[in-house]
Amino acid sequence: MRAPTSILPLVLEDVSFVAGERAIVDRVSLVLDAGPRTIILGPNGAGKSVLMRLCHGLLAPTSGRIEWASPERPGERRRQAMVFQRPVMLRRSAIANIEYALGIAGILAIERTRQARAALEGVGLAHLAERPARVLSGGEQQRLALARAWALRPEVLFLDEPTASLDPSATAEVERIIEVIRAAGTKIVMCTHNLGQARRLGDEILFLHQGRLAERAPVDRFFDQPASPEAQAFLKGELPWT
């Protein structure tokens, strides 16, 4: 069996996403390497969610180039996954939702239950395996979404404000799980507007302002000595909503 080549690094070259008159993402160029936990930061409307969806392939750029090191072919197993702010579960049991995702990834039926159960145990939801996914609490569903993504063994995990709708204890649980996933070797790319969370979880910060990549820096330097005026204003809380 051929050893799978990594899909990283991901290269964005002059990528824009224009809707109507506005450029929601404006000529962004960057390279995402394996390793550091990347946090995308910025005020509301800065284009964080759209940028992540462009990377993940849910949106096509209006102009520019997005290229993974190993191209994705349709029908092939995906090696990146995404967790959304609000989890979307099928009307089935918790474990069945994970088995569904494994099925699409081409895992054989006999293997699916075992892997799904392992993923549930990893997020502490094994006792809710047979419960209908949609009756779980918000925090539990988000943990289930993480378990589902994790079961797929992605190389890159995108997270779109994963704790924005959760209470502090659920948030702490989710952050713990993200750390476990990272430790197992997955590249984490997350956007948030919670500065404390960014500081806690990030290794590097990508700061977006009005669709442009205003600054990119290691986390400590960003928070202690922001280089760009937009970042400085943001951290001081002075940036107007765009």
Binding site: G57, R77, V88, I104, R134
Partner: protein
């Protein structure tokens, strides 16, 4: 008022004595309408899914036309199918005219747009909710569509029930393509029409009461089925 009371009495009498003619007519009505619903559902669900999820030129026009076809007059459908199945028509040699099969064909054509249009709406709404997640997982095209349809199956049941209601209630199409032949193509609605034209209004109304009660029971059964399933799957 007297006629109505008389009709209730007639209805009760027919049902309690399990009048064999009534049983024959009811069984045929149910067979024809449910066959049409089954056939129409098999065709309409994929059609609704494709229109709901697809992007192609003229999509909006197709949606408008599909919604408009929900109002197809049964008698017009009956006439068109009659002309197709008549010996003088293109499908004449199949010998389907004046058989239950012709009635199933006509009713299928009649209710297909209803189920497809309602399914399209339900699927499109659900697609908006599920789309990103399904595509993120790598489910594309048919996989996503089938997953979606299966997940909202209980909402789609409502669309199917709308089709059942229309099929069971119509008389125009089955009268023309079936010929209302005694013992062969006589269903509840055509019998009601016949008894009305013979002036036996209490009997016609009595049959009407039986028909409405049957449809009510069917809907009640479907509703409780939905409730139970809702509780199980959330």
């Amino acid at each position: 008022m007297g006629t109505i009371l008389h009709a209730i009495g007639e209805a009760a009498g027919l049902v309690l004595t399990l009048d064999p003619k009534l049983v024959e007519i009811v069984v045929l009505s149910i067979t024809v309408s449910l066959s049409a619903v089954a056939l129409a559902t098999v065709l309409a669900l994929p059609l609704g899914a494709v229109i709901a999820v697809g992007k192609f030129p003229g999509r909006q026009t197709i949606i408008v036309v599909l919604n408009a076809l929900m109002g197809l007059p049964p008698v017009v459908v009956g006439l068109v199918v009659y002309l197709l199945l008549s010996r003088a028509g293109p499908l004449g040699p199949m010998g389907l005219l004046f058989t239950p099969a012709a009635m199933v064909i006509a009713q299928t054509i009649l209710i297909l747009p209803i189920i497809a249009a309602l399914a399209r709406q339900a699927i499109e709404d659900a697609w908006r909710e599920y789309q990103e997640q399904l595509r993120s997982l790598g489910a594309g095209g048919w996989t996503a569509a089938l997953t979606l349809v299966w997940d909202i199956r209980f909402s789609l049941l409502t669309a199917v029930l709308a089709g059942v209601g229309r099929a069971a209630a119509e008389v125009g199409a089955v009268m023309i393509v079936g010929g209302n032949i005694d013992g062969v193509t006589r269903v509840m609605t055509t019998t009601i029409a016949l008894e009305t034209s013979k002036g036996d209004l209490p009997l016609a109304l009595g049959l009407g009461i039986v028909l409405v009660v049957l449809i009510l029971l069917l809907n009640a059964a479907a509703y409780s089925f939905k409730e139970v399933a809702q509780r199980r799957y959330g």
